[in-house]
Point group: C2
Chain length 346, copies 2
Amino acid sequence: VTLLDEILEQPEAAARFLDRQLATVHSIAATIQRRDPSFVLIAARGTSDHAAIYAQYAFGLRNGLPVALAAPSMFSLYGAPPRLDRAVVLAISQSGTSPDIVAVVDEARRQGAPSVAITNDPGSPLAVAADHVLPLEAGPERAVAATKTYTTQLLAIAALSAALSGGRGATADAAALHAVPRAIDNALSTDGRARTLAAARTSISRAVVVGRGYEYATAREWALKLQELTYVMAHAWSSADFEHGPLALLEPGFPVLAAIPDDVAGAALVPLLRRLRDEHGADLVAISARSDIVDLRPMPAGGSLPPWLAPIASIVPAQLFAYHLARAKGIDTERPRSISKVTRTR
Amino acid sequence: VTLLDEILEQPEAAARFLDRQLATVHSIAATIQRRDPSFVLIAARGTSDHAAIYAQYAFGLRNGLPVALAAPSMFSLYGAPPRLDRAVVLAISQSGTSPDIVAVVDEARRQGAPSVAITNDPGSPLAVAADHVLPLEAGPERAVAATKTYTTQLLAIAALSAALSGGRGATADAAALHAVPRAIDNALSTDGRARTLAAARTSISRAVVVGRGYEYATAREWALKLQELTYVMAHAWSSADFEHGPLALLEPGFPVLAAIPDDVAGAALVPLLRRLRDEHGADLVAISARSDIVDLRPMPAGGSLPPWLAPIASIVPAQLFAYHLARAKGIDTERPRSISKVTRTR
């Protein structure tokens, strides 16, 4: 089964990226520093867009760099792109073939803004169009649902963030980055737990997924895996946005999936989750490295990693949960209906 | 019924804003132009966040201004905000009371970045914290689900965009802005159609909402109204993102709601919708001013407005659809379960 193989390959894919691409990471970081950008514009779709959300937190919190997520239609369909004269443009795409993402990089070149393509195919149109290419080294990804390209995308962004901060924390950051493959490996040990939790939920058709801070990206990607693989109508929110309205959706037994960071944002999320469980009767499934939420019985993940790297491991139990839920529902995980591996949108 | 009253008040609220606040709009636009920002950072939650998405398209496509949507937790919980030295900060909030949004404006002042609060309460903590205040003039909004503050937020942003572009188009822009109250009034005439469409769908528990370009904000806000008022698990996507995975959700009879702009982005969306109807058996409900999609039988809206202003009117049939669906399901539209008018998130 290709999908499961690719989930299991993630520690090696991460190790390969670290082994082969750190020099390129440092050279790209130096280019960004020379530019001294006012902000980073990121263009991405689908799973890659969730890597972009992780980048918003990593670059913002660790490097002081504001991140704007591009609306590619401005570049492709409308042909009226905004000014990029103080930006660095980052395009993230597994295949590197979607015309709307390539259009953003083409416009960056036209305006003289440096561009970087993070892609699994260094020969793709996106890689050719960009000034700099950061290959994911994930190996060919054949399953329709992206897994190992997502975790290597996060790792590429994390490595860029570490290279951009440099200085006193550099040694600790480098050690933490090199602990990622083993942390992913540890996260794979949640397989039995993920299977049990999924087997008890084969009848769900809707789910709320919440996250906050560094783990908001995990919530978004978890929801997408459920949509693609299990046809569950899963909707992810930052827990703060969820409280501004969508909370009305909850009724007793409603599945609430949560990715809880082991930091101050996670500390703010925990009381909400307990309230959803106790007052709304929500059926909670959590992923977290926190040690202070035994009552939420989270699937453990990323425990050995600092919060800024934890999302690379904490998505793994979510992938396994979606995989096992699909299998338990009798869905062919290699051929989710209606979608294909490469989507070319304009 | 307060909610329906407030939906019906929207033409007057828009007229009042235009009558009272255009001088303030021009003064704020002049401040922004003096600053010559590299980008605009917008902080907002819930419905106001959808006004922020509209601003991303309006400022980007019409003024060449990149827009970044703030992750407020970086400012409030993490206390590690990004650099804002080349930004203008815009905070959008009906009540002006959410601490995480106020934290973004506080940080703007600390870093010397100009800030503007768009709020319905010029005496709110947000208004006090910001350098400039643009009051919505919507009158007190009492219903939990925001309606007239959303359309006046869009109008405030549209007026700012017009003031920022100035020049040759200024006369046409001013005429178009002043046509907004009548266009909203015309959109209210879809009431009977919205009620019929809703009455036929009282058993739905899930819905996909798609939009693109200027109408992506409409899709997002339509989904939120359905979540708040009807407890339908509605999820909005840009149609391009929808094709990258979530398309797998569709099965025959699945409700697909669409907000279709009358421009090149809408022209790209129409073939997808026909495919969803013909190949996937989707149950389509559309809102559009386009004249070339008679087969999609859209609720008409914003027909007299150019595409950049159309979202102010095209949300109205969506509000009415959600209102009638709630009533048909026997839900008290004045007291959606679990949520309250003002949400103070950190």
